[in-house]
């Protein structure tokens, strides 16, 4: 077995293990930590597929931004009467969750099986970060600047909402 296959199996094992830990750990803060580990595992899977820009985006958006939002969701909502050690218990919805997840698994598996996957003979680009840079800064100038306006609007919106909540208190 070559290095890439070994790396894939180690990463897949860690990713699935931490994804299971998200569900099975009873402390929701530990679950959040395991979720970050899952995100990082997926980022390294992207690296094994030579998608280094996507891996960087995965680390910055999911392991950085989304995990911050999840931690704030945990910290703003009180669960388990303040005892953080018993905050991730979903005993009541065990069977409902099983049916929903089994259905989702079935649908996704069905579409993976019926899709005619095409194997390209072309060589995968060794380095795609520079290509993305060139396309973004030469062909997509206006969308790039619009992204800045979108981010600014999002930040100002969040501050306006937070200030209104503070005034209501």
């Amino acid at each position: 077995m070559d290095l890439q296959v070994i790396a894939f199996w180690i990463i897949a094992f860690v990713t699935l293990g931490s994804a299971l830990a998200v569900v099975y750990l009873t402390n929701i803060v530990h679950s959040a930590l395991a979720l970050i580990m899952t995100f990082l595992g997926i980022a390294s899977l992207y690296l094994t597929l030579h998608a280094d820009f996507l891996a960087a985006v995965q680390v910055l958006v999911y392991a950085g931004a989304v995990s911050i939002l999840i931690v704030f969701g945990i910290m703003l909502i009180t669960r388990g009467e303040g005892r953080m050690c018993e905050t991730n218990t979903f005993g009541k919805y065990k069977y409902t969750a099983f049916v929903v997840i089994a259905a989702l698994f079935g649908v996704i598996s069905y579409f993976i099986i019926i899709t005619p996957w095409q194997v390209t003979n072309g060589i995968v680009a060794e380095e795609n970060m520079g290509t993305i840079g060139e396309v973004l800064f030469n062909n997509f100038v206006i969308p790039f600047e619009l992204a800045a306006i979108l981010l600014t609007v999002a930040m100002i919106g969040a501050i306006v909402i937070a200030r209104e909540v503070k005034n209501l208190k």
Binding site: A7, A56, V61, E126, T152, A154, M155
Partner: protein, 118 residues
């Protein structure tokens, strides 16, 4: 390219091994004679109060919002920094406009006291 990232993986495995070997060795070598004073949480010699698992203040919320925006900005900075030399002056102006728009938002956050501790 993958072998370059493999060194990060080896570093990661080395870090895990370093931490876990130190903990396992100390667990194996230490004498185990616990009593109640010894098992207490050490906090600068003071008697501890309450539990460690508490919810932190939500004043951090607006810091987090500002962090999110500049986290996303970093994604755009990354390919720009890789191709910085070959893209030329136009790309520098583009990035300057991009950062200016974001700094307007940052200035508004600052003005509204989002960065002040309450």
């Amino acid at each position: 390219m993958l072998t370059q990232y493999a060194t990060i993986g080896i570093l990661f495995l080395g870090a895990i091994a370093f931490g876990s070997i130190a903990m396992i060795l100390s667990r194996l070598l230490q004498p185990h004679r616990p009593y109640s004073q010894k098992m207490e949480t050490y906090e600068c010699g003071m008697v501890t109060r309450g539990t460690a698992w508490v919810q932190f203040k939500n004043s951090y919320f607006l810091y987090a919002m500002v962090f999110l925006i500049f986290d996303i900005e970093t994604i755009f900075l990354y390919p720009w920094a890789v191709k910085f030399q070959s893209l030329g002056l136009f790309a520098i102006i583009e990035m300057f406009i991009f950062l200016t728009i974001l700094i307007i938002g940052f200035w508004y956050a600052w003005k509204e006291g989002a960065l002040e501790w309450q």
